[in-house]
């Protein structure tokens, strides 16, 4: 065992040639990119030829473990799936927790990459540094949970599998990769890339130890972090309806307060992400009725049916990802076909619920498990159904097109039936299985006006008209539509100004209207979120963990204790800047015009809504994006990284 937190090697698997090659990665690369998303971006930028078909043999799919994973740090168990996205045509990544991240490293590798296409279904089995491409007969065709169970039973208690479900096999462009019976790297449509390669699963089964420079300091920092994670807050005594009323208050009050992540961690600990279900609707954070409705369409009586207390009443036990002291997940008992499911996340509930005007909680539990097993992204699936319902309402789709389904707002049975068709790629489901943008192209008849996407990807259930920061990141990230990078709220919670020089400290109290003003401070805050989260995704940190605050969840200090590099927070932010910029350079190389990734006009508030929480709100995405690009040293006119910026960051 070495006293460094990375294994120093990657595995490159060529599925066409059926070869497995071990490669040593120079230390310097880790210092510049960490591992996880950073190493993934470095490899893919350098190796995928411009214009490669995302579903062709030249695309590379990478399973990258976090740099801090397995080092005794907490909240550091996340891995990143990387590849060129078939959904957006540009950079693709998806983040996932569970137990898979350390398992990659225990095999002796920081990441495993796949290129080529197999002529028949296969899976990769890696045991203690030896890798073998195996025939996937008997596993291909199974759903994600069945396939994972089968593989893990076959290889014993140390084996961990990442698998695609049937949606990935069917190359659905909104499919992802699953681990741990329902943790899913769902975004960017990378399940389709895995399916196109005819790769059913990656099984890692190793025991290599992961070292650190200063184990005692790692432990000291982890104790400090655990203390803050356990910090008692009176909020935990509130019932779910209290959260809803807090949302109502936040909607009515003209004055907002800067939020401390300790509030959100308390919500996560008690309810999980679903704690926000009703509150988000009330305050205008959650889009409704395909982004055209408002809280007035989904009032408390209706949203009460998805109250978080109802969800945790079914919870058997909390679920913690690797190295997580918080445990926002849970295992829930459900009625009907499946005995239990991972507790449905906020995003899944609101995409399949509020966005489709569906308040039937039983159906949401069922769809959650159904989609996890199929390996289909719940956000994109829900958003695509909402799009289809609006097309039906507008007469663009008729009963004849839908094979008799009455696609009306809140028709739960029709929504469930439609999703089953999407999973099976049957009838109208075949058209919708690749997300709303592709579907609109096939349907035509002006249906494009009812899609809400950024660069082809459906955004998450956070309305940028309520927090304009979301609209910035939906529009400027290399993975457009992404909600796990930045927002006004996130900037407040990260508390980066406490460690990083020159970052603005938000006012404790402020008028809501001030969020919509565009100025340099806003651009600085957005850029800081992107840099920090790119770095954190390299480190394998959980966003919910880092929400607690940079001093309490000491990411920079863990990195130094693990490596002995003694880098400053500013230097780590430069690592994030490099990762963010190389992803952007990847997009430019692959012909993406950054401006075309801006979120759909409806979600920008153009035209503004006439009623509800976000009445009259408009977010000037063009101006905000230009300011953001300038902050990064990218051309403010078109978002392309300038030569001098690439040079400064050492990106060739």
């Amino acid at each position: 065992m070495m006293n460094k937190p990375y294994m120093g090697k990657i595995l490159m698997v060529d599925l066409s040639a059926k070869t497995v090659t071990e490669e040593i990665i120079p230390d310097d690369v880790y210092k510049q990119y960490l591992s996880g998303m950073g190493l993934g971006a470095y490899i893919l930028y350098n190796r995928i030829p411009a214009g490669a078909d995302p579903l062709g043999p030249e695309n590379i799919l990478g399973f990258c473990s976090g740099f801090l994973t397995g080092t005794g740090s907490l909240f550091s168990g996340r891995w990143t799936l990387v590849g060129k996205s078939p959904l957006t045509g540009g950079w693709g990544d998806a983040n996932c927790g569970g137990t898979f991240s350390p398992a990659i490293k225990h095999c002796g590798y920081d990441a495993i990459f796949f290129k080529g296409i197999s002529d028949k279904p296969v899976y990769l089995y890696v045991k203690n540094g030896k890798a073998e491409i195996k025939d996937a007969e008997g596993i291909w065709g199974l759903d994600a949970v069945e396939a994972e169970d089968k593989l893990e039973k076959m290889y014993g208690p140390k084996a961990h599998a990442a698998v695609i479900g049937t949606s990935g096999e069917n190359v659905s462009l909104i499919s992802g990769v699953c681990t741990d019976s329902g943790r899913i790297a769902a975004r960017s449509g990378l399940g389709a890339v895995m399916g196109s390669k005819k790769l059913k699963a990656v099984v890692v089964d190793g025991v290599q130890r992961i070292g650190v420079h200063d184990p005692a300091e790692m432990k000291r920092l982890s104790r400090h972090c655990a203390k803050w994670t356990k910090f008692p807050m009176p909020l935990s005594l509130l019932p779910g309806i209290g959260m809803a009323l807090m949302g109502t208050f936040l909607r009515i009050t003209p004055i907002m307060f800067a939020q401390d992540g300790l509030l959100y961690k308390t919500i996560l600990k008690k309810w999980g992400t679903g704690g926000m279900n009703q509150m988000s609707i009330e305050m205008g954070d959650s889009p409704l009725k395909n982004w055209d409705g408002s809280n007035r369409d989904f009032r408390l009586k209706k949203s009460g049916k998805i109250n978080p207390d109802i969800i945790i009443n079914t919870e058997i036990v909390k679920y913690h990802c690797h190295s997580c002291p918080l445990g926002c997940g849970g295992i829930c008992a459900t009625k009907g076909k499946y005995a239990h499911t991972h507790k449905p996340e906020y995003e899944s509930i609101l995409a399949l619920g509020g966005l489709c005007m569906n308040e039937d909680m039983d159906s949401l539990f069922y769809l959650n498990e159904l989609l996890n097993r199929a390996g289909m992204d719940t956000i994109s699936a829900g958003a695509t159904v909402a799009f289809a319902i609006e097309c039906y309402e507008k007469g663009i789709l008729t009963k004849k097109d839908t094979d008799g389904l009455e696609l009306k707002w809140g028709n739960t049975d029709a929504a469930v039936a439609l999703i089953k068709k999407m999973i099976a790629r049957e009838g109208i489901g075949d058209i919708l299985a690749d997300g709303s943008k592709v579907a609109a192209k096939k349907i035509g008849k002006g249906s494009e006006a009812y899609t809400v996407h950024a660069g082809g990807q459906e955004p998450a259930m956070h309305d940028g008209r309520n927090d304009p920061g979301f609209n910035v990141h939906y529009s400027v990230e290399a993975t457009p539509g992404r909600h796990t990078i930045g927002a006004h709220l996130y900037y407040e919670m990260f508390q980066l100004w406490k460690r990083v020089k020159g970052l603005p400290r938000p006012n404790l109290l402020f008028f809501k209207g001030s969020k919509y003003k565009t100025n340099e401070e806003k651009a600085k805050a957005s850029a800081a979120c992107s840099k920090f989260m790119s770095m954190a995704n390299g480190a394998g940190m959980c966003m919910f963990g880092v929400f607690i605050g940079i001093k309490r969840v000491p990411t920079f200090d863990w990195l130094n204790a693990a490596t002995g590099w003694n880098m400053t927070p500013d230097e780590y932010m430069t690592v994030g800047e490099r990762i963010q910029t190389i992803k952007q350079a990847f997009n430019v190389r692959h012909g993406i015009e950054p401006k075309n990734n801006f979120i759909s006009k409806r979600a920008q508030g153009n035209p503004p809504q006439k009623e509800g929480a976000n009445k009259g709100r408009f977010v000037d995405v063009e101006k905000l994006a230009a300011d953001y690009w300038k902050e990064f040293g990218w051309d403010p006119a078109n978002g392309k990284p300038k030569e001098e910026t690439l040079k400064r960051l050492g990106i060739m």
């Binding site: 025991v207 445990g327 295992i331």
Partner: protein
């Protein structure tokens, strides 16, 4: 660093069978060797070798211990944060996370699921960030 095998080895293969890292190889009845790149220093080979033919990572000789006397993890659940690091650290997968909540609370808890598989390496205890795992020797019946 790595464990090493001395010429006292008679090639019985006990260490090969117990090594969780697939680090030991050798022909039957001939001196075995350890791949230093794979050895994780769990010490199972040292505890099982009837010939005392193992040197630990510092070069000190290991002595055989009866398997029933190998230390086993004891977990103080009250202070455990359920982070699962112990389960991940275990090289033989003998620890598991409960499917039910602990008696006081909603979180699951790690437990020794397969005591016979435990090799007494103590990695769970070493890696636990909260230091809630000890490795006492089993009490004699």
């Amino acid at each position: 660093m790595s464990y090493t095998i001395t010429e006292k080895c008679n090639g019985c293969g006990a260490c090969v069978r117990i090594c969780p890292a697939d680090a030991i190889s050798g022909e039957k009845k001939k001196i075995h060797s350890i791949d230093a790149g794979l050895c994780i220093e769990c010490g199972a080979c040292g505890r099982i070798c009837p010939q005392s033919a193992l040197l630990d990572e510092k070069g000190s000789p290991c002595t055989m211990i009866k398997r029933s006397e190998w230390p086993k993890p004891q977990i103080e659940i009250a202070a455990c944060v359920a982070c699962g690091i112990c389960i991940d650290a275990c090289p033989v997968g003998c620890l598991a996370m409960s499917a039910q909540p602990r008696s006081k609370g909603v979180d699951p808890f790690p437990y020794l699921n397969d005591a016979r598989a435990c090799i007494g390496c103590g990695f769970c205890s070493l890696d636990c960030p909260m230091d809630v795992i000890t490795m006492p020797k089993p009490l004699k019946a």
